[in-house]
């Protein structure tokens, strides 16, 4: 309808100010004005002239509140061309018609409704008038009823009081009846064995009877009751003493007796005595299992039975006792604790005996499981009877067993080590008979080392069961601390390594006369074993132990370095002893050869004596043997062609100095002087000196000992000319073959020179052999 006039006229209104430089500012001002005007109800259209959108105050808006037909017509006439005017006129007419018809329809539709509403209101007026009358009537009726009710109450008052009284009398009579019937009821109950019921009746009646006992009739009842009660108590006790029934029934008996007012002290004693009887029976049956019969049930079964039988029983007794005799106070608790302590002690003694039988056996897991059960079972009564200290005692037993196990394992390890040694001895003895000189020495060493290590590991694993998480006693302080550090680490591992070292050392300490009992190869092998322990195995084993048993204890432990030092010392002593033993073997050979021969009457030497060849052979064999286990070691650099070196001492110019003048009486002086001068420039030879861990050092030691013996023996003998020459030949032979074994061949030269010089001194006719001849003989031999 208003759509046509909606658009604002272009440039209409007085506010059509030119679009100047101040175009923006006035627009803002106008906007503010507009808001003010809106407030005061003024038409914005007149003031602003440029409203945005349809303005409600627009007088030209057909549907607006401020529509002004004159203005609207003026506007139409002024603005629109004729055709448009015509159009709007027709449009307007059409709209007016539509509006008229609409209004007529509305009026018709609502007319009936108005009429019916008027009727309804009229009817309501009538009805209300009727209701008022009825209400009045009701009020009067109610007043009458109230009156009646008051009258009835007044009449019933006294009768009500009488009824109440009668009801009280009735109750009292029933109680009295109960009392009179009580003896017979009690008798019946007792006959039927319903002791609980009887005790309840008795309990209910007792107070009343007590109160009215001055009345003769009540007195009689009370007496009857007491007789019956006494009988009841008698029967209960009888049942209690028979003890055939289980602990719960006994507890019930005691409870009833207590309710009957029997003395608690006495009952408590009796109760414990009965419990003792039962538990002792359990103990006896356990003891019977312990008996000498060999197929004793395994320890697990034993502790199971002990746990369920004895410990279970003890738990029941304790629980019942505490429930029944709670009123007894600390004295009663003390009695129970003493009871539990005594029986517990006997049980522990049995368990220990059983466990002691187990000590010899091997299966740790079974033992640990049994101990676990044992300990676990005892924790329940332990909590119940803290005073009896059963849990502590149990823990102690477990600890003791654990300690004994450690000892057992240590013994086992030692035995294993000794067994290994025996095996080695046998192995060493066997191939020697077959003519093969210890080819498997390295293998034997590996075998021994691996078998000992596996034994150690097995022991660790077995002992480790004691600290397993799921074992109930593993979190006890002993098992967390002392067991790991002192027991396992110190006692077992360190103890074993120490004892191993001691065992090995005992081979050195065995006096020389019995030294033959220990094969030298065994000494060598043990020495190498100890050295290996020093370098690797000890730290490995200890690390393993520390890892498996997270040692938390702060107590001091033996450091790895100490053990290593011990092992190294052992290895050194063994090797030194080996050198001594082998040196002794060779030197005995040399000594016999020197002492038994008649050096004055020997023939001119044609050959190297067989014993020297034997010495060289034996030395070579030892060299091979040591080489199997020890590294080569360093030797002093020497000229490459050492074997060709001749005996410079008596082949060169010194020959003159040493032998020629010895014909003259002044010879000893010169000889002494020369030998002294020579010695000034040579190192003192420490014959039995400690050896290093390599082949060369070992061989040097052996050869030193042998040659020194040769020297000393030669000095004790007197030689003929050919005797001297024989010594010369022998020494040259030794020189040819022994230099390669030693660290410093100068040493061999020195000692051999000394031997020949000493022989020359002990010879009344010292004519040395030509060096070339000596060489020829030696090369031929």
């Amino acid at each position: 309808m208003a759509a046509a006039a909606a658009g604002p006229g272009p440039g209409s209104g007085p506010g059509d100010s030119p679009e100047g430089p101040e175009a923006e500012a006035p627009e803002r001002r106008r906007k503010a004005h507009g808001m003010l005007k809106l407030y005061y109800g003024l038409s914005e259209g007149e003031a602003a002239g440029r409203p945005a959108g349809p303005d409600p105050l627009d007088p030209t808006d057909l549907n607006g509140a401020h529509f002004d037909p004159e203005v609207y017509l003026d506007k139409l006439r002024r603005e629109c061309p004729l055709a448009q005017l015509m159009d709007s006129e027709t449009d307007m007419v059409r709209q007016i018609r539509a509006l008229d018809s609409d209004m007529q329809t509305l009026v018709y539709e609502n007319y009936n409704k108005f009429i019916s509403a008027t009727d309804t209101i009229r009817k309501m007026k009538n009805d209300f008038r009727k209701m008022e009358d009825e209400m009045d009537r009701l009020a009067t009726n109610m007043a009458v009823i109230t009156d009646f009710s008051a009258r009835i109450s007044a009449t019933l008052q006294d009768r009500h009081e009488r009824i109440t009284k009668l009801a009280g009398v009735h109750a009292l009579l029933r109680k009295l009846q109960f009392l009179f019937e009580l003896p017979s009821r009690l008798t019946k109950c007792v006959e039927l064995g319903a002791y609980g019921q009887a005790v309840r009746y008795q309990g209910r009646a007792r107070a009343v009877l007590q109160q009215y006992q001055h009345l003769p009739s009540f007195r009689a009842i009370q007496d009857d009751c007491q007789v019956i009660t006494a009988r009841l108590a008698q029967q209960l006790r009888q049942r209690f003493r028979e003890g055939g029934s289980g602990a719960p029934e006994q507890a019930e008996c005691v409870e009833l007796l207590l309710a009957l007012g029997e003395p608690a002290e006495e009952l408590c004693e009796e109760f414990l005595a009965h419990a003792r009887g039962r538990l002792e029976e359990e103990l006896r049956s356990l003891e019977a299992e312990l008996g000498p019969s060999p197929p004793a049930p395994d320890v697990l079964e034993f502790t199971d039975r002990g746990g369920s039988g004895f410990v279970g029983g003890l738990c029941q007794v304790a629980a019942a006792y505490q429930e029944l005799f709670a009123a007894q106070g600390p004295a009663g608790a003390e009695r129970l604790a003493a009871f539990a302590r005594e029986l517990g002690g006997r049980y522990f003694a049995l368990v220990e005996r059983r466990l002691a039988q187990e000590q010899g056996g091997g299966d740790n897991s079974l033992l640990v499981r049994a101990l676990d059960r044992f300990h676990r079972r005892l924790r329940a009564p332990g909590a119940l009877l803290a005073a009896a200290g059963l849990a502590e005692a149990a823990t102690e037993i477990v600890e003791r067993v654990a300690r004994e196990r450690l000892g057992h394992h240590l013994q086992g390890l030692r035995a294993a080590f000794l067994g290994c040694l025996t095996d080695v001895r046998q192995a060493l003895a066997a191939p020697r008979l077959a003519g093969k000189e210890g080819p498997g020495l390295a293998e034997l060493l590996a075998n021994v080392a691996s078998s000992i290590l596996s034994h150690i590991k097995a022991s660790l694993a077995a002992v480790h069961l004691f600290t397993a998480k799921e074992v109930s006693f593993s979190n006890k302080p002993y098992f967390r601390g002392e067991f790991c550090s002192q027991g396992v680490r110190e006692g077992l591992i360190v103890g074993f390594i120490r004892s191993m070292c001691q065992t090995a050392q005992s081979f050195c300490d065995s006096p020389g006369e019995k030294g033959g009992a220990t094969p030298p190869a065994l000494l060598l092998l043990l020495s190498r074993l100890c050295l290996d322990y020093e370098t690797a195995t000890i730290s490995y084993v200890l690390t393993l132990t520390d890892e498996q048993f997270l040692v938390q204890d702060q107590s001091p432990v033996t450091p790895v370095s100490t053990l290593c030092a011990e092992a190294r010392e052992t290895a050194r002593r063994l090797l030194t002893h080996y050198v001594k033993v082998q040196g002794l073997v060779i030197s005995q050979m040399l000594r016999k050869s020197v002492e038994t021969r008649d050096w004055l009457s020997t023939l001119e030497p044609r050959n190297v004596r067989a014993v020297m060849k034997r010495v060289v052979e034996d030395t070579t064999a030892i060299d091979v043997q040591v080489g199997l286990l020890y590294e080569e070691g360093v030797r002093k650099a020497q000229s490459s062609d050492s074997s060709k070196r001749t005996f410079s001492v008596y082949s060169s110019s010194r020959q003159q100095g040493r032998y020629a003048p010895s014909y003259t009486p002044s010879a000893p002086m010169d000889t002494n002087l020369l030998s002294n001068i020579q010695k000034l420039f040579s190192e003192r030879i420490d014959v039995f000196s400690p050896v290093e861990f390599n082949k060369v050092s070992v061989l040097t030691g052996i050869i030193k000992i042998s040659l020194k013996t040769l020297l000393e023996c030669v000095r004790l003998r007197t030689f003929g000319r050919f005797g001297l020459q024989q010594v010369q030949v022998d020494c040259h032979f030794l020189q040819l073959y022994l230099w390669r074994f030693v660290a410093d061949e100068e040493l061999v030269h020195l000692l051999l020179d000394e031997v020949v010089a000493s022989a020359a001194l002990r010879c009344p006719d010292p004519v040395p052999m030509e060096p070339s001849v000596v060489e020829v003989i030696c090369e031929r031999g």
Partner: protein
């Protein structure tokens, strides 16, 4: 006192009795083995005839008495000689011999100064034996006294059952002859055969050993000596001694130790001995002919005396 005589194809060690020149040391019985002396010559008195018994290994005078008795060891025989007046002739008084398998040879012997000089100890191979000179019978035997050959023996001059031995196992052992299963004490200081062991004549805690490792070692064996708590002054009366004893005990607990090692020798030392005149003086002799005379360290001397 010995001399060696080589016959055609056989070496035989003999023994003879010599007299030392008077001006040297009157009253001295033993004479050194030197065959000749530049200044004085020895006077040969008599030979101990041993042709029937083999080589002489050792000769020992009766330690006290009139010097008429001599023991000599020849191979496996032990011979007791009686010197006639002025020692011009030696008569074989009695003899005994060692029987057993193998060739048994005595290596050394000593005459005990105790028991009225009726005991002699001998060494053969690894065993030490004691003999009664009256019956010429064996009274004790230490089998396997040493691991190897026993080289020398000496009796403690102040403790009658104590005996020292040394041998090729580099050890010096001290024995109580009443219990011969175990040595009382063992020393292992030498690195080669020990050839000689000697107790000091008056202070028996001082023990001297010589070895073929060319060392001489002087040890202080206080714990097994006759003066385990130090020297007790003789003229102190009993109460004084008892007063002194505890405090000395606390001051110097018995402690065995090596006093000194003498390394003057260049070659094996074969003999060591104490001076018979000065108890603080000793000599050692080595293969190269060197004779070294040493004194006990002054500090030790005062320690023992005071």
């Amino acid at each position: 006192m010995y001399s060696r005589k080589a016959s055609d194809s056989k070496v035989l060690t003999c023994a003879a009795v010599w007299r030392m020149p008077k001006e040297l040391e009157p009253g001295s019985h033993e004479s050194p083995d030197d065959s000749s002396s530049t200044a004085h010559t020895l006077e040969l008195l008599c030979h101990l005839d041993n042709t029937a018994h083999g080589s002489m290994a050792c000769v020992a005078w009766e330690p006290t008495g009139d010097g008429k008795k001599v023991i000599s060891l020849a191979d496996n025989h032990i011979l007791l000689w009686d010197l006639q007046e002025s020692s011009s002739q030696a008569v074989l008084a009695s003899s005994a011999s060692l029987e057993g398998k193998g060739q048994l040879k005595f290596t050394s012997g000593r005459w005990s100064p105790h028991h009225n000089c009726t005991q002699v100890a001998t060494a053969n191979d690894t065993a030490v034996r004691g003999w009664d000179t009256r019956s010429m019978s064996q009274i004790y035997c230490i089998e396997n006294a040493h691991g190897q050959l026993v080289r020398d023996l000496d009796f403690n001059p102040n403790k009658q059952y104590y005996l020292a031995s040394c041998g090729d196992d580099c050890k010096v052992k001290f024995w109580d002859t009443r219990n011969v299963t175990e040595p009382v004490k063992t020393l292992e200081e030498h690195s080669h055969w020990v050839w000689s062991v000697r107790y000091n004549h008056s202070h028996d805690q001082l023990v001297l050993t010589g070895s073929s490792d060319s060392r001489v070692i002087l040890s202080n064996m206080v714990s097994i000596s006759s003066e385990p708590f130090g020297h007790l002054v003789d003229d102190d009366d009993l109460s004084d001694q008892e007063e002194r004893r505890p405090e000395e005990k606390s001051q110097e607990p018995p402690q065995d130790s090596v006093i000194a090692t003498y390394e003057e020798h260049e070659d094996s030392v074969y003999a060591v001995d104490w001076s018979s005149a000065d108890p603080w003086l000793f000599a050692s002799l080595s293969y190269d002919g060197r004779l070294v005379i040493n004194r006990v360290p002054r500090a030790l001397k005062y320690h023992i005396l005071l």
